[in-house]
Amino acid sequence: MSFFSLFLVFLKASMLSSGGLAPLALLREDLITNSGVLTDGDFAQAVAIGRITPGPNGLFVLSVGFYAGGLPGAVAAALAVMAPPFISIGLVHVHRRIAGRPWVEGMTRGITASAIGLLSAVGYSFITPLLSAPASIAIFALALGVLLFTKLDALPVLLIGAAVGVGCYLVGIPLA
């Protein structure tokens, strides 16, 4: 894909989503389902990198851009995600007028509810390739439990997962 095409893909995903991992579903559709530019494995790695590196989780899109188009792809992604936030300047000015109106709150809730459903669908697509390896499913289940029921941050959980992956490799347990 050209620089401009990638920029438009990332701009669309950024404009139509709100929150760190929310663009995942849109990007997956454009770069995997529709064009076959990337694989689910590329996406999973990009998300993992985004959760490790400093800054907002949403910077995983730079990894996605890098996988899709090298350094120019990452630059296209960076420029695209920097554009929508400037809408917030207008929001600062109009906030006093619209804040607290029920329809604004309802609309925000609707967008967020759709994002939760879409994120779950993305998670589902990550799990499907793991079903052939019980050890991978076990790591998933344990990690989910730790993330939901403890206050451990994402970084140590990812590092533990990676260490378990090495352990499985050394003792010959297959992972997906």
Partner: protein, 204 residues
Amino acid sequence: MASTQHAGEIGVLVDHVPLRDLLVAFMKVSTRAWGGGSSTVYMMDEELVRRGWITHGQFALDFGLSRLVPGINLLSMAVMVGYRLNGPLGSVVSIFGLMFPASVITILLTAGFAEITSNAFGASLVRGAVPVTAALTFAFAFQTGREIIPWRERRVMTLMLLYVVGCFAAVAIYHVNVVWPILCGAAGGAFLFRPSPPHPGKDR
């Protein structure tokens, strides 16, 4: 010029923060906040409030407002705070400061991933991390739902949960274009997900 707000109130405490100081503050956050969004929020708050530029209340307000803007919420926050502290140039400097170091690190790590994963040992590292990534996605969705869904408004809560399940099924099973659930959620939510009016006599 300093305003009259105190630390616990909503307010910007300093006008016209030098652009260089803004750049340094946001680049510092961008370099140190390893581990994604949670640590970034923590360090942004720490940096901006401790420098005496805004109050915790202002930080919380902007955090909420940033969720109304498309895209990465924390970048919107940087733009808003930068705008409040030094106008349009302040917003540009702030988002650049938050983006640049983290972007360089992200790109370098991504490029290194190809090298890392080209041998069996490195590949096993990634194979162990991938299930955790799937877990992170579900955990993020669950935690967002826990915070956003109004559990005390039973009608709205039920409708929103049904909508979440519907979106999941539409995309995961029926492969509906993901733009539609978002647009339908926004349009329908404006009517169906409005906050329930307070019960008479309970709002005092």
